[in-house]
Structures are given as C-alpha cells and as structure tokens.
C-alpha cells in the first residue's frame, strides 16, 4: 500500500503550541483517534427552532409491541410492552434517553422505548428528530 497526500494544499491554522516530532513519537499519542471532522449542526439547531416527534413504532408497524431490545414484535408477545398512546416529542425522547419517564408514560415501558429510539435508522419516521436530539450540544 502506498499513500500520498492530496495534491491540493489544505489551509491549516495551528492553535496553541506547535507539535514537536518528538512528542508524536509517543505511542500513547499515536494510539488515540486524532481526527474530528466538523459535521453540519443543522439538525440540532433545526430541532431547537422546531419541535419534532417520534412515533413508536412507526406507522408501518402500527399496533405492534416493543420488545426490551427495541425491536417491534407482534402484539401480546411476552416481555414486550405496548406502544405509547401517542408519539413522543423531542423533549420527551431526550428524557427517555437519559433514563427518565415522561409524565403519563408507564415507567416499566421506558426501557423498551429507549431501545427503540436508539435503534432508529435514517428513513424510519422519527429519525430526523432522533438525530437532532442525540447530537452533543455545546
């Protein structure tokens, strides 16, 4: 394998002290992930100016129960819990992700809902909302 740097020269701004080659030779430095790519913060800010909701489960699985691991299973499956009476709002989802129980929800169900929200994927309804609330905030 051979590598080459990209031909076009990137602009760099070094902040604080410059790196010394000696320092980078330390394995500890080499061992840690060293690149953070700045990603759009749009979803997060959109969420703060909008409010969004997450239906549990999404409409295609309407009526199904939520298993403890967050998957959707036929209604009545042992160990699974019925869906909440209404979609959870972004604020409620945040609370659930922190282990809390929003008002009007059954505390015994929130673990399953938490798993469901964590498993949301792009394209499933509620994903944009989820993505916007799970992003780290400044």
């Amino acid at each position: 394998m051979s590598d080459e740097t990209d031909k076009s020269e990137p602009r760099t701004t070094t902040i604080d002290a410059a790196t010394s080659r000696r320092r980078m030779l330390q394995l500890g430095v080499l061992g840690a992930s060293a690149v953070v790519t700045i990603r759009p913060a749009l979803a997060q800010t959109a969420a703060s100016v909008m409010n969004c909701q997450i239906p549990i489960p999404d409409q295609t699985h309407a009526g199904q129960y939520i298993a403890q691991n967050g998957s959707t299973v036929p209604a009545g499956t042992a160990g699974a819990v019925p869906p909440p009476p209404r979609p959870v709002t972004g604020e409620e989802a945040k609370l659930i992700l922190q282990g809390g129980t929003p008002a009007g929800f059954d505390p015994n169900s929130t673990q399953a809902y938490q798993s469901y929200i964590r498993r949301l994927q792009q394209g499933v309804s509620g994903f944009t909302c989820y993505a916007s609330i799970q992003m780290p905030r400044p």
Binding site: S2, D3, G31, V35
Partner: protein, 71 residues
C-alpha cells in the same frame, strides 16, 4: 481543561473542516510525496510492529477523511 495543541484544517477540495490532534499534523508534513506506509514509518523513526500497526490505524482515519489517498 487546558486546550492541548490542536490544528484546524480547512480542506479546500472538499470544503470540510477537520480538527486534528498530534500526530496528524506531523504525519501530513512527513507525507510530502507519495510513499508507502513502510517508508513513512521509517521516515518517522518507527521500527517496532506495534507502532507501525498504530500508524496504519491513523492513516486509515486520514484516508476516510479524504486527507490522504490510497494509490
């Protein structure tokens, strides 16, 4: 927490900003021409297998970020 030495990179072809920590600036500096990973390790004075393996991990990160290209 004091802010350790970090470098901001604006990568023109992609329009993407990366914040990189050591050893990335030195790696990019050393990669001034196409070379093999082994050459790079030698240039940086790495000889043991563990260091070379870690170096490859960092290179893989840079490849995914698009800052380094596999030829």
């Amino acid at each position: 927490m004091p802010c350790e030495s970090l470098t901001l990179i604006y990568h023109r072809p992609s329009g993407i900003t990366h914040v990189v920590a050591p050893p990335v600036p030195a790696l990019l500096e050393a990669l001034d021409q196409p070379m093999t990973a082994r050459d790079l390790a030698a240039r940086l004075g790495f000889d043991d297998a563990e260091a070379v393996a870690l170096l490859n991990e960092r290179l893989a990160e840079l490849v995914e970020a698009g800052l380094v290209r596999r030829a």
